[in-house]
């Protein structure tokens, strides 16, 4: 739990795959299976995934350089975007032509890269909105409180309990707009839990979060796994990926280029190529894109660590 002051070493889930680890390898118990999913924007192929399986009950990281198609792939999986072709399923049910809100009702809840806290709703209202199957959300029943009052009380109790766990309970009456960037990330994750999802998809949960909050966010993600949820997240912070992920999928130019457990996958030449390009031995000091420089440093550091 997040109450622990000392960071615990997370327990890694192993034995997730069947046969050799590699792009598109089979999993023992996949929760998501995508086949031939392709999305183009004009002439640009953003996502072209031949086959990928996401293991159930584990924390899977989706990494890759900028423009690799990670967020587009997220959008495709959650119904926020439609692929040109391909089929993909969640828990054995096809997700083709399923609108985003139905995907969410099936138990696949996502967060966004740019946090979407509902600013002019209170923190508590943000949380309550996350609960599924509310009878008071029907226009005709909403007029008569006796239809939804008791359910509302249950939802409120649950929301307060989760808020306490995320240490946001002191803020519950404040507008979400008054929260800091990191607190909004926490709120978004807490709100996702209100619907008891089976799969939580986090799009860059650490982006813009104050380092003081990082550990607590990491613990919350590990907590999701211990409660039996599956987590799929996009992240750029390689240390974090190595720290908590059980499985890593690497995307580059829309394709899955490598898969494996976090330690193995960092050594894969395809990953090094994807991040650093084939000419990673040449001097990169003149690169003027600060973000790619950052990735290169992160990767070099990790490669050094491993050796």
């Amino acid at each position: 739990m997040s109450d622990n002051a000392t960071p615990t070493t997370p327990v890694k889930t192993t034995g997730l795959h069947v046969g050799e680890a590699g792009p598109g390898c089979k999993k023992v118990d996949p929760i998501i299976i995508a086949d031939g999913v392709k999305r183009t924007f004009g002439g640009l192929t953003a996502v072209d995934v031949a086959h990928v399986e996401i293991p159930r009950g584990a924390i899977t990281a989706l990494i890759g350089p900028n423009g690799a198609g990670k967020t587009t792939f997220f959008n495709l999986l959650t119904g926020f975007d439609k692929p040109d072709e391909g089929k993909w399923e969640f828990d054995g049910r096809s997700l083709a032509h399923v609108p985003a809100y139905r995907v969410a009702r099936m138990g696949l809840i996502r967060t966004f890269q740019l946090t979407k806290a509902l600013g002019l709703l209170t923190v508590l209202d943000n949380m309550k909105l996350g609960a599924k199957g509310q009878s008071g959300e029907n226009l005709f029943r909403s007029v008569f409180p006796f239809f939804w009052r008791s359910q509302e009380d249950e939802i409120e109790a649950k929301a307060k309990e989760i808020l306490a766990r995320f240490k946001l309970d002191a803020k519950q009456e404040d507008y979400a707009a008054s929260l800091s960037g990191g607190q909004r990330k926490l709120l978004e994750m807490a709100r996702a839990l209100m619907s008891d999802p089976t799969l939580v998809m986090l799009d860059e949960p650490m982006a813009g979060v104050n380092p003081a909050l990082t550990q607590s966010l990491l613990d919350h993600i590990l907590d999701l796994k211990s409660q039996g949820m599956t987590v799929l997240f996009v992240e750029h912070d390689m240390h974090m990926v190595r720290h908590i992920a059980d499985w890593v999928i690497v995307m580059a130019e829309g394709k899955i280029v490598a898969e494996g457990d976090p330690h193995e996958v960092m050594r894969d030449p395809a990953v090094i190529d994807a991040y650093l390009g084939a000419h990673h031995d040449t001097d990169l000091g003149d690169d003027d894109d600060p973000e790619s420089v950052e990735h290169i440093h992160a990767m070099k550091e990790l490669i050094d660590d491993e050796q």
């Binding site: 979407k116 943000n126 007029v143």
Partner: protein, 327 residues
């Protein structure tokens, strides 16, 4: 000399006039659209026209009783909302604004054209549809009231009817906005993708909001024609803008805002035009003619909207705290 008593009593009459009630109800519908859901509906005049013509044509051409005429108007506005909403509610908010403003104008031009003169009365409009409402009047003939509020039985009857509808609509709006339904609606205003990601059918909620606010506009259109005739020129885009002025004056996401806003708007407008007309008459403003003085009040409405948006964007009843975070 200026007759101040006359000016003040004319202004005071606007407090409870059926026109004020009609504008309040139309603004309440717009509060549901714009204030709570974030839908930019610029075609509220179109919904009001549907109420007015739906009621008048059902009564005059088809001889329907009052309740059936009201239902025809409501039905027409639901169909209108569906036609507007189905293609545009999946798109960004500004597309709805463009489509609604155009659709309301199309309606007005259809009602104005000579082709349907038999049914719509074209530019001269319709009258003689008030019999059913007057027959329902329980108040015995005579004149009642005190001071400026002295009216005959029919005038009292339409005031009571109009304000009863406004109060019921306000109570209804209040009760749905404090419910989980209202929470989803306000969430959509903040960020519809986030609400979608939580498993809510955003499209359906936006459609419900558009229909509900449109029905309020339609009922407002029916109250509006009780003290006057149905004339297509009343349903120009400026009508929508006056309703927006009332909404912003009172506070966009409030229940009382549209009602009190409408009262203030009409009392001030009546006071100002009464004062200007008599000031010109008395020779206080030698540079101005009566016609110019009549137009001046609309300039004032424009200036007032600008000042409001700049200096009190949350309106009279709006929550100042909400606005300190507006990006």
């Amino acid at each position: 000399m200026i007759d101040w008593i006359q000016i003040f009593s004319n202004a005071a009459q606007e407090l409870i006039s059926p026109t004020t009630a009609a504008y309040a109800l139309a603004a309440l519908g717009l509060a549901i659209h714009f204030g709570y859901t974030g839908l930019l509906n610029f075609g509220q005049a179109g919904f009001m026209a549907l109420g007015a013509y739906g009621f008048a044509i059902s009564t005059l051409t088809f001889g329907f009783p009052v309740w059936a005429s009201v239902l025809v108007g409501i039905g027409a506005s639901i169909v209108f909302a569906l036609i507007l909403g189905i293609p545009t509610l999946r798109l960004r908010a500004d597309y709805l604004a463009i489509v609604t403003i155009a659709a309301a104008e199309i309606l007005r031009l259809i009602f104005t054209t000579n082709t349907f003169d038999d049914v719509t009365g074209s530019a001269s409009g319709l009258q003689g549809y008030k019999g059913g409402i007057a027959a329902m009047n329980p108040i015995p003939d005579g004149t009642y009231g005190f001071g400026p509020f002295t009216y005959n039985a029919y005038d009292w009857w339409i005031r009571i009817l109009g304000w009863t509808v406004v109060i019921l609509a306000a109570l209804f709006t209040w009760s749905i906005m404090r419910s989980p339904w209202g929470r989803v609606i306000k969430g959509i205003r903040e960020d519809e993708d986030a609400v979608r990601a939580l498993g809510k059918n955003v499209y359906s909620y936006k459609m419900q909001s558009l229909i509900l606010g449109g029905v309020f506009g339609t009922l407002a259109g029916m109250i509006f024609i009780m003290p006057r005739a149905v004339v297509p020129a009343n349903y120009q885009t400026s009508l929508t803008f006056f309703i927006y002025a009332i909404l912003l004056l009172g506070g966009a996401a409030t229940i009382l805002g549209p009602i009190v806003g409408s009262m203030i708007f009409w009392v001030l407008l009546s006071f100002f035009s009464g004062f200007m007309a008599r000031a010109v008459e008395a020779g206080w403003l030698p540079f101005m003619t009566q016609v110019q003085a009549g137009q001046l009040r609309f300039i004032l409405v424009g200036v007032a909207i600008m000042l409001l948006v700049v200096f009190r964007p949350q309106g009279i009843f709006g929550n100042k705290k909400e606005l300190s975070f507006v990006r």
